[in-house]
Every structure is written in C-alpha cells, then in structure tokens.
Symmetry: C2
Subunit: 298 residues, 2 copies
C-alpha cells in the first residue's frame, strides 16, 4: 500500500492507525480529525501518522481512504473530497448501518468513484483515540458490503487489507447486513439504554436509592448504555426500519414471557430459559466469548 | 458461632462454606445437598464441612441454619425440619424474592420459630459448588429483611455474620426489597433471556447465521441468559407482580424510544442517550463496577 488517509481518528480510526503503523503497511498515513479535543489527545499520545488540517490535502497522495466518522459526517465530507477523488481511489468506511450510508454515498459521491463499505465488528462502550489499540480487530469479523455496483478489484483489496488488520472477512449485501446487525448489535444497545432509563425513572418515581444494588444485573447493561450517543443516534436513525421491526419482535417475545409468568406456565418458561443456553454454547464454540464465569470486575 | 448447617451447596452455599471454614467461624459446618452430582463434586473438590444425609440430623446441633436452595425447595425442607427446630435457632436464607418466601415460611414453619431472611447481592451466571469462592460476598451488599415479627437479636446476629462474610449490610422490608430487585436484577435477567430468544427466533425464521456476529452486543446478554433456569423460574414466579409491572414500565419506555427513532426526534433521543450515562457514573462512583473499557474477553 502506498499512502492511506484516515478520516476520523476515534476508537476505530486510531486503532487502524496504530495497526497500519505497527505492521508498516503504508508509506505515509494521513490522519484527519475535526475535534480539537481529539487532536490534542492524538498529539499527547504521540500517535503515528501525519495530521492534516483539511482531508482534501491528502486525497491525491492516498491510495486508500477510510471513513471512520459517524455517518452524520459523511455527506459534508464527501462534498469536500469529491473534486479530488478519482476512480483509482479505494474508499471504504466502518459504519454500522449500511443501507442509509449507501443512500448518502449514492446521492453525494461524484460519479464513477468506487466506494466499498466495511463494518468491523469490534469496539467497546468507550470512544476516542486514547482507547484505540493495534489489536482491536484481531480475530474479529469484518463485513464487506457487496452491491450491484461493487468493483471486485477493490473488494479483494479491502478483503486483504482487513485480514492484515487481523480480521476474518465475510461478504454480505447491505439489506442482509442491516437486518443481521439490527438484532445482534443495534437491539442489544437500544435495550441496554432503555433498561437503564427504566431504572432511572423508577428510582425517581419511587424515591428509592436503587442504583447501588446494581450488581445483580443492571451493572452490565449500564456499561453498554454508556456508549457514544452520537454514534448510536446515527445508527438508530440510519437503520430505523429494521430496528423498529426488531423492537416489535422483542416486545412480542417479552409479552409472551410475561404471560407465561402470570399464568405460571412452568413447562413453557423452563423450555425458554433452557433454550437460550444453546446460543451461549454456540457463542463459546465460535470463540466470540470465553467460557469463564463473570463475577463482576475488581 | 457454634455449629452451622448449610442447606443447599451450590454457588452461594459452597461460597459460605468456604468462607466460614477459611475464617474458622464455626466449630462444625454441616452441609446438606440433595443433588448426587453436586455431592460428587463436593467430595472431589475436598470442600470443608461434614456432609449429612438428612438435614434434620444436624439441626439440633446447629446454632445457625442457612437455606441456600432455590425457593421451590423451601416448603418440603421446612416440613422436614419443623420437628427439630426451636426458638433458639437462627434461621436465614439467601433467596432473591422475599414476599413469596415470607408467605411459604409463614404457612409452613412451626410457630414461635424465628426466620430472618437475607439476600446477598452476589453471584454469577454459573452455578454449582465448583464455582463457589470464599470471597464471593466481599464488598457486596447483603439485604437483611425486617418485618413486624423480626427478632432483633437474630437480625443483629445475622448482620454481624454477613459482615464476617465480607458484605456491607442494609435493612429493608420485603415489599421494598422485591420492588428494588425487580428492577435492578430480575428485569435485566428476564430481558437478557428474551433478547437471546428474539435472536434465536429471528435466526430460525430468516435462516441467517447471525450468532457468529454476536460480538457487537448480543454476546454479553447471552452470558447473563445462561444463568440457572430453576433459580430464575422461581424468582420470576415468586416476584411475578413486581416483575410484570417492571416489564410494563420497560415496554412503555421502549415504545417511546421507538417513536423517537421513527419520528427522528433528535433532541429527545440525544437527551435519553446522554442521561443514562449518569447511572454509569454513579455505578462507578459506588464501586459497583470498575471504570475500565470492555473489549470482550480473551
């Protein structure tokens, strides 16, 4: 790889930066970051790469351009870069909702420019360049999005690129991608936020001091619900159709469970409580988690 | 303390056993366990204490009796022990739903016998004596339940006992207890089970292989949803009134959030996504969790 331009240097962008530098995969790594707070952090951390004031300054020198901003930044950024982009550029992004970003790209990107979306399934509840790490993508899945207009050369290039980041790759279209992740990622986050809100509202209404007893389960949800609000607002808005359907499906499941409790349907409840363990076994088998009990963190 | 009898030697019972033995708090520790599988494990692990074939054999020799079985075992056990119990016995249990256990106890326990309920807020998704540990209760809350009939000498005795187990103690009545934990513990577990079930049903219906992409959030819920099904069935049934109310409150919150997404109510969504962080700060401040990012476990 010649040079690379990373647009947005938060958790994911700075992890890519660290990895590319560590593995010496590019001659030059250009980094654009709009937040002054993050720029100060990047300088203090002495991260590798060349900070550029305007992303367009680095476009013509770069072979690969990676968008790692929230999707609400895409349009503005694309309009800035359009003039400098050529069909030779390999462009990707790391966003979590693909139908909407496809729409933004289609609407705003100059014609005859190729953009091949990526979605690395890696992250945490924290954000910002100080939390990035070179092995963030190690053994994690990265989805590459294929559409009718996909340039296969670029898809292959990015598949090799993500493998160098440590990822396992899989190809999907954006419809399937957005459905799958509405269930495995967007719904769990949305539920975590709403569970914590329910506890907050209850505490206020009952005037009970209940958060201090959160070790019984609420604690783990509160960690997930402390994720970046801009990123998650964008995801919920961008994938609203699938997310709405996922909520409906979940509420239906939940109400059936409530009925089982209220009618003391022993057989049905036990079947449900046992069956979910199958998912756990599968997750352990697929090495998505380790088989070690969690007693809370010290 | 003279002698103690632990009835049920799973995660909690075996943790009490280990702690009492380690701190040399009792002359003799009698252990009753009904499951043959667990008895074999206890023997193999060479856990301290004296295994008794019938709990009633150890009652008259014991000062303190601790029920650490699921609540569905209480009635049968109480009826076995009644003949041997005296007003001098200090009896407690570690169950998670107190109104129902109070009812079972009131209905079945011989008159003039004192029972003071405890609820240590400690545990994990695993169960069984092999997972117990002497420091399970360290720095964790233990709720002591007070009612009109509470014997204050016994309450004080148990308060000192739980402090020796490493816990911080707090006194509540069973109504408040069951309300608080319907939100901080029962609802989170119920939601975890139902979220995993939703993913399972979706996978089956769509014929998508989605569990392998669980690193985006589903993974953490699957761990919680792998908890012991008998224990959780009992809890959901025993606290069904409060749990039902908690589900209703949660669904209401969730539907309002769905509306915010569908109407793209930016202000409302951002407020909600930000506000939940306050709970996280409080949880960290109260040392219910550590302030360290979670990237999944290796």
């Amino acid at each position: 790889m010649k040079n690379v331009l990373i647009i947005g240097c938060g958790l994911l962008g700075s992890s890519l930066l660290r990895r590319i530098a560590k593995k010496k995969l590019a001659k030059k790594i250009f980094v654009y970051e709009k937040s002054k707070k993050n720029i100060a952090k990047i300088k203090k951390l002495k991260l590798p790469g060349i900070l550029v004031k305007k992303p367009q300054d680095a476009v013509s020198q770069s072979e690969l351009i990676i968008f790692s901003t929230t999707t609400s930044e895409y349009k503005k950024m694309i309009l800035k870069l359009n003039k400098f982009l050529t069909s030779k550029h390999i462009i990707t992004d790391v966003g979590s909702a693909k139908l909407k970003s496809e729409e933004i790209i289609k609407k705003n990107l100059k014609r005859n420019i190729f953009w091949t979306s990526s979605h690395p399934i890696a992250g945490s509840e924290v954000s910002g360049p100080e939390h990035g790490k070179h092995n963030l993508f190690e053994n994690k899945w990265c989805v590459l999005v294929k559409s009718k207009k996909t340039n296969f050369k670029n898809l292959k290039y990015l598949s090799i690129f993500w493998k160098k980041m440590g990822s396992k790759t899989v190809i999907m279209n954006s419809e399937k991608h957005d459905k799958v992740f509405s269930i495995t990622s967007h719904l769990p986050h949305l539920i975590a936020y709403n569970l914590v809100k329910t506890a907050q509202d209850f505490e206020k209404k009952q005037k009970y001091d209940l958060i201090k007893y959160s070790a019984g389960g609420l604690r783990d949800f509160s960690r997930i619900a402390s994720s970046n609000e801009i990123m998650w607002r964008d995801i919920f808005f961008d994938n609203k159709k699938n997310v709405s359907k996922a909520i409906n499906l979940f509420v239906k499941t939940l109400n059936a469970f409530k009925k089982d409790i209220n009618t003391k349907n022993n057989k049905s409840i036990l079947k449900k409580l046992k069956q979910t363990k199958k998912v756990r076994f599968k997750i352990i088998k697929l090495k998505q988690d380790i088989n070690k009990p969690d007693f809370g963190r010290d």
